[in-house]
Chain length 279, copies 4
């Protein structure tokens, strides 16, 4: 970052402000950005409440346009000042940033698309980067690792649960039938999953004696199997926790790539200078 | 498998296609089979939805007959080309394969039996064999082991919970009575289990002060005891996880018997040549 | 048990049959007893269902009287043939056995007391003794130990949850008020516990915006704290599991006292000869 | 505490009675205090039940005034007899003690404030001090430590769950819409959290096929993620449990500050003489 051509210096400054977090300007940029995101999400939510929309429709509409235009400018600047725009555009946050602006423009042509701007909520995840919580990232990585290693086992388990739900749902459909609210097999499978996961809305509930007996059976199974993913995550997390003690995870503050070598100074993916770990 | 009589060679080829998964033909057979199963399960589910059934009744009926005949042919071929048909017929998948065809034939004589074809969903479990996921099988075994060793403890626990439910259900029946929806002791026991497992439909809920006080008590018990199976599975899984590291489980791709000796080449139960482990 | 007076020999035989489980007669006595208990519990449950009671009222009544008289005789014989009746009478099973007979006799004087015979269900716990599952007892002890050592922590935790429920229930009462179903503070506390334990009947649910916001907050707290008893039991169970490996728990088959010394031959509490452990 | 000025001796005696728990007078003071608190909380709760309030309104009102005045006297005495009143006033229990008296006085001016006296329930937490359960405090500390070290991870997790709820809630709002009870995005987010936490009131439930399919998806996610905080607490608790074995936590009986040095005799914060640990 030392020997740059003069005409790129404004880009470097911009990069420092937008992507960086160590200069006061960079910190303020991120804090203001976060406030705007929160404000924008609240506006979208309140806009959907008829009571508020009637009264403040104009205000909400203008607010959203202002925010959308700000986000569009920010998106363009982000692309302009980064060295490899492609890395940003196709990254998770790049996609989210784009999706945060498009729906509002589409609302010119299609009714209702403005609600999709609620996807802006995903921008809130940027908070992890903004707070630049290396320690938080570490804790997060810890979780991510445990979830990664239990991913396969849990997906097998969920697949198995789905097959069991299909069978039990069909049995309940045959036992209770459309006259007790189990209108069809898909509806009955929906009920089975509602029961197995112990959500239990009660919009459909068994009414015949046999149906209630089977439901009891399903609930006890659900009771037993809710223990399985928990057991898996517990064990994997405990194991990941042991490992993490040795190597507190560090990530590039620019592209989020995990830093593998402890003595690394620049990111191996995007070349960004890495921040020191605050223990 | 080297010195076979000429008249058995077509059987060997068929066996390779149907049971094997290493030849391209075997892989395609399994993939097509899986697609047909998924298609068939979807048809059975949609058939039960009145809206779809009215419109596409003929199409659904023909689809099911085609699938049923295909499954029947497959079932016969499976018996023909295997060396010891009995092993297959009385295996879990053998039973499932039979149950996948029978209900449709029975629908000639009994109304409603066609829905039992939903048991075909169990054939989806074949996916584990098809994906030939030795690693998945390993993970699955890991789970299976943990569940096996916690089986006894969990069943004692569930038995205990059932006895407690009987008592609490009776008490609630005496407190609330039929005038508040607790029509009978079995119905009241059903409510108790709905509450203890934290499903909570709300189709029946206590209305008297004393009943609600007791319900609160039952809920807190349920809160406490939901921890027990989870604790058991966590501990057993963590222990099974330690063991599994040393011996990644291998299973026979034909009959599913677990391979005990690492240097085994043929299955000790059905004589099938075992596949190598892909680490 | 060798040098007994002649007039006590019939008692010894009776004791062998009723309390013992190693002679064929003793085994049969226990199995028949268990069948009678199960039969009796089913009769009490079905009697409470109006549909069945109308049709089979006489049959149910006679059945219960027969069972009650049988249980009374058994109870008297148990007292007669044991060396120290007091130990039995005031033991858990002694109380349960008495409670299994009294309600039916009381039904002469008070209407509805016959339902209390459902407490007979507690006699089902005798199954652990009947199956004489030393290994089961071991597993059970394992659980019992984990629960014992986590008892104090969980009760502190539940006390804390109750105090929090009182506060949150009051807040919800003030926010929602009687016009939205939160009729009184006790009722509102009931709702809070229904929510915190994730049971969620839906008989009462917040209707104002602020109420729903607070409910969301309560649910997320509940989500977090459901983890606490589970975590405690997991850790305690894992620890008890380590210990139990060394000393598989043995219990006296007469009074249930835990056998502490491995070389014990007679129970240190009731003097009953202990059974050998079947590994 | 040996060389005190004569005029402070009555304060010392009072301090011994109010804050101390080793003299008979101190014990009785605490026990009576606890009984009054429990009585007071019950009165507030029953007062809110219209049925009871109609009949016993006068009695409840007088009871509360008596309790409020007693608490006010106690509060003043607590301030008078302690050496550093500020430590007490701004401590957790100091605030709670103040909040226990104020609402009743405010009820002169504002209607409904008397219900805030339910915050007295927080005074029940004083039971831990009263029982002077050093061992309980130890167990509690154990929990507190596990919760402290998992706090950060769980809050990240909850933040993540909230963002996911925002997104899923918006999707459900677009799919189901106000005509099926999903009146607005905040309402829909409320439903999503009700579902994710497996509470499932059923006041709102998806009615369209697509909505039910998505709900199934959300439930299974909820099923998976309920495992995460549990896994975290389990692992952290197991780890805290190991540590706690070595240093059973001691707290100052006056201000609750944790005693760090095993040989400490006076509290490092308030100077109170520490009690010996009863092992």
């Amino acid at each position: 970052m030392k020997y740059k051509k003069p005409n790129r210096s404004w880009r470097a400054t911009l990069h420092e402000v937008i992507y960086g977090t160590r200069t006061p300007a960079g910190k303020w940029f991120d804090i203001i950005l976060l406030i705007v995101i929160v404000y924008s999400v609240i506006v979208v939510m309140l806009e959907s409440v008829p009571r508020f929309d009637e009264r403040y429709h104009e205000f909400f509409n203008i607010s959203e346009w202002v925010v959308t235009i700000l986000f569009t400018i920010e998106y363009v600047l982000r692309i302009v000042c980064i060295k490899r725009p492609r890395n940003y555009i196709f990254s998770f946050f790049g996609m989210v940033d784009l999706l945060s602006t498009i729906p509002k423009y589409l609302s010119f042509f299609f009714v209702g698309t403005q609600y999709f701007t609620a996807f802006r909520a995903l921008r809130l995840l940027r908070i992890f980067r903004i707070l630049k919580l290396v320690r938080y990232t570490g804790a997060s990585n810890n979780l991510v690792r445990a979830l990664n290693s239990s991913k396969r086992k849990i997906s097998i388990f969920i697949f198995f649960v789905l097959v069991v739900s299909l069978i039990l749902g069909t049995v309940m459909y045959l036992v209770e039938g459309p006259e007790h609210g189990f209108n069809s097999i898909p509806h009955s499978v929906y009920w089975t999953i509602v029961t197995l996961t112990t959500v239990g809305y009660g919009d459909i509930s068994p009414e015949t004696g046999l149906g209630q007996f089977l439901a009891t059976f399903i609930m006890i199974i659900g009771y037993g199997i809710i223990a399985v993913p928990t057991g898996i995550v517990s064990a994997e997390y405990a194991s990941a926790r042991e490992k993490i003690k040795q190597d507190e995870g560090r990530c590039c503050q620019n592209c989020g790539t995990e830093v593998l070598r402890e003595d690394a100074v620049y990111c191996r993916k995007c070349g960004e200078k890495l921040e020191e770990i605050i223990s």
